[in-house]
């Protein structure tokens, strides 16, 4: 059963459509990463789920209850903000206690001075303190409880923000780029911690990020949003290997996927340069198409007798791998390959090379961006070469 479901959420600001009918279902204990370039509406969607913003249309159902008109406080969702949004005048312990105090103490019991005299509150306050301490211990911030946010480092503040969100056992957990203010080392470390915490709490989580490696490494499913539309929602491996849209393929993957424009001819074969690929299971028709090949499936070899000839333009050494930029002789398009450093040693700048592409890794897209599916692609180039 889905714990959180969004149905055709729309939102526009001053005539600009920010969300164009986004639908999404999250199951019990699922971790969904919402990823997309800045301005794609992912944060807006999160705010709408939290109740901080109202959608123009669509339904939000949390735990079987339609909450579109329910105030943020009564939705039982917790959120971790990019800026952490800790109360600067309260200590870490007081920050974590706020959501509990707001829920468990009555307005009269929270009232300054007078509240402390009312019956029953002492017991509740002690209980809250205990819970705060437990939460802090599990996040290893119990030594920070008496410090104010100003006296803490970014990583510590981030943990306090997590603790404040988790302490009240929300039914949905929302995170808005919680790691983007941390330095690179800490970020990778914090990723693992958040995943671990999520496993323990098993609360469905919507995690907004613009960092694809965060999305792919942390989430059970990744939702790619571009221009206010949710283009694909799938497990990380699937969304990477089998993107439904050219924009998804472009957004995920570092370096970016190679996209080459070409045409499919009446016989259903696609050619660029001297390379011909036969597209099967598709009604043959003359139409322009886009070919996508991820850089790791492009092989460059220092031979001059290949079918696709290119010239190395530039290499980027990244330690465990080398990114090689080459330009195809025939059509003048750039192509990027990811190669092992050993192979890269033979590829110097300006060198003429042969390009080989793994045929079953080639993806075809319509010019509108949709994936042309159910196609296996066979190489017809050998034949071509024999004739030539």
């Amino acid at each position: 059963m889905s714990v959180l479901s969004l149905r055709t959420i729309t939102k526009s600001f001053a005539g600009n459509a920010i969300l164009k009918g986004v639908s999404l279902e999250a199951d019990e204990g699922e971790f969904i990463a919402l990823v997309g370039p800045s301005g794609c509406g992912k944060s807006t969607l999160l705010r709408i789920v939290a109740g901080l913003d109202n959608a123009d249309g669509g339904d939000i159902v949390i735990g079987g209850r339609e909450v579109s008109s329910v105030a943020a406080a009564d939705r039982n969702v917790a959120m971790v903000f990019q800026s952490y949004a800790l109360y600067p005048h309260l200590t870490a312990g007081q920050n974590i206690a706020v959501p509990l105090a707001m829920r468990r103490l009555t307005a009269a019991q929270r009232f300054p001075f007078i509240g402390n005299l009312l019956p029953g509150q002492r017991q509740i306050r002690a209980d809250i303190q205990r819970q705060v301490r437990e939460m802090a211990t599990s996040l290893r911030i119990d030594h920070l409880l008496d410090r104010k946010p100003g006296q803490m480092s970014g990583g510590q503040r981030q943990r306090v923000a997590l603790a404040r969100a988790m302490v009240r056992h929300p039914s949905v957990f929302l995170m808005d780029e919680p790691l983007s203010n941390l330095d690179a080392n800490l970020r990778v470390h914090a990723r693992g911690e958040i995943v671990e915490l999520h496993r323990r709490a098993s609360v469905p989580t919507l995690y907004v990020t613009h960092d694809q490696s965060e999305a792919l490494s942390m989430a059970d499913r990744v939702a790619v949003m571009i221009g206010g539309t949710l283009l694909q929602l799938a497990p990380p491996q699937e969304i990477y290997d089998d993107p439904a849209h050219i924009e998804v393929a472009r957004f995920l993957g570092q370096p970016r996927i190679n996209v080459l424009e070409t045409r499919m001819d009446a016989s259903g074969s696609v050619r660029f340069g001297a390379l011909t690929l036969a597209a099967q299971n598709t009604p043959p028709s003359e139409t322009p198409v886009l070919i996508g090949v991820r850089p790791e499936f492009v092989r460059l070899s220092p031979r001059t007798d290949g079918i696709l000839k290119a010239r190395v333009e530039r290499t980027e050494f990244l330690g465990s791998e080398v990114i090689v930029h080459a330009r195809l002789d025939a059509i003048g398009e750039a192509i990027v390959a990811k190669v092992a450093p050993v192979e890269a040693a033979t590829l110097s700048e300006g060198l003429p090379v042969s390009v080989e592409i793994e045929p079953d890794r080639v993806m075809l897209f319509a010019t509108t961006g949709e994936r042309l599916r159910a196609q296996t692609i066979a190489v017809a180039s050998m034949l071509e070469k024999a004739h030539g």
Binding site: A71, A72, A73, M79, F81, A85, Y87, R164
Partner: protein, 276 residues
């Protein structure tokens, strides 16, 4: 090094000169408060009294008018005005800065207009109204016209705009009502703005002579500056030594308060980006 210290000397002497110009009347007041009647009216001008008559003058100042009543009235009026102004202005400024509602623009225009209208313009209608309500000669008449300070709204508005939206959002998600947000999140973080406003408000109303003069004729409700006026009238305006002593007593609380809280005040003013 010499150049630098020369610049420093120049700067310091310029500042000292400025300080001297601004302090001169006050210093002269202190000096006069210690002079005997004959010396004040003599042709020679000396800063240090030939004959110290501080005790005499202060005794006169304290006995002729009820100084404690004046000071107490000053404290009550300033405190009431300040508290009411803050209680009214903070929720108003919060709403204008952080909530979306249709009349927000109109309210902003009204606040701006309010800033342009001086008390003197509305003094007469207010006086007539208070007279009809028979509340002249009361704390009510002294406090009510100042209860809504557009200046306070404007100052807090600027300050609240700088508060991060996420903080308000977090508070909302944590279950706070809008009143709760104002009381528990906005106010505790607005102390610099509140202190800054406190200076403006308290100084203005402690020193205000115009409005008390309009609505108060009973000495029981006289504020310090009005009390000074009575003192002068009672003394037929010639005992300057005692008058200066009385003035000294009246200005002392503000000077003392400023000196004690100087650091916080300066912090408050610089934090709101306002310059005196």
């Amino acid at each position: 090094m010499t150049r630098l210290s020369l610049g420093r000397v120049l700067r310091l002497s310029l500042l000292s000169l400025g300080a001297l110009i601004f302090l001169a009347p006050y210093l002269f007041m202190i000096s006069t408060a210690g002079k005997a009647q004959s010396e004040i009216f003599s042709s020679s001008l000396a800063l240090i009294p030939e004959q110290w008559s501080y005790v005499e003058n202060f005794t006169k100042a304290l006995s002729r008018v009820s100084m404690p009543t004046l000071l107490w009235n000053g404290v009550v009026v300033c405190a009431l005005i300040f508290i009411v102004q803050v209680v009214v202005a903070i929720p108003c400024a919060y709403a204008m800065a952080k909530l979306k509602f249709r009349a927000a623009r109109l309210m902003m225009v009204l606040v701006m207009l309010g800033l342009l209208v001086p008390i003197h313009a509305t003094a007469l209608p207010l006086y007539v109204a208070f007279d009809r309500l028979s509340v002249l000669n009361s704390y009510m008449a002294l406090v009510a016209p100042f209860s809504i300070s557009v200046f306070a709204i404007f100052l807090f508005l600027q300050f609240f705009r700088a508060l991060p939206d996420d903080l308000i959002h977090a508070a909302r998600l944590d279950g706070m009502s809008e009143t709760g947000i104002v009381a528990r999140v906005v106010v505790p973080n607005a102390w610099p703005a509140i202190t800054a406003f406190a200076i403006f408000s308290v100084v203005a109303h402690w020193n205000d002579l115009f409005w008390p003069l309009v609505v108060v004729t009973n000495q029981e409700y006289a504020t310090p500056p009005l009390g000074l006026l009575y003192f002068r009238a009672a003394e037929a305006g010639d005992d300057y030594g005692a008058l200066m002593a009385a003035t000294l007593i009246i200005t002392l609380p503000l000077v003392a308060a400023f000196l004690i809280a100087q650091k916080r005040f300066v912090e408050g003013i610089t934090m709101t980006g306002l310059k005196g």
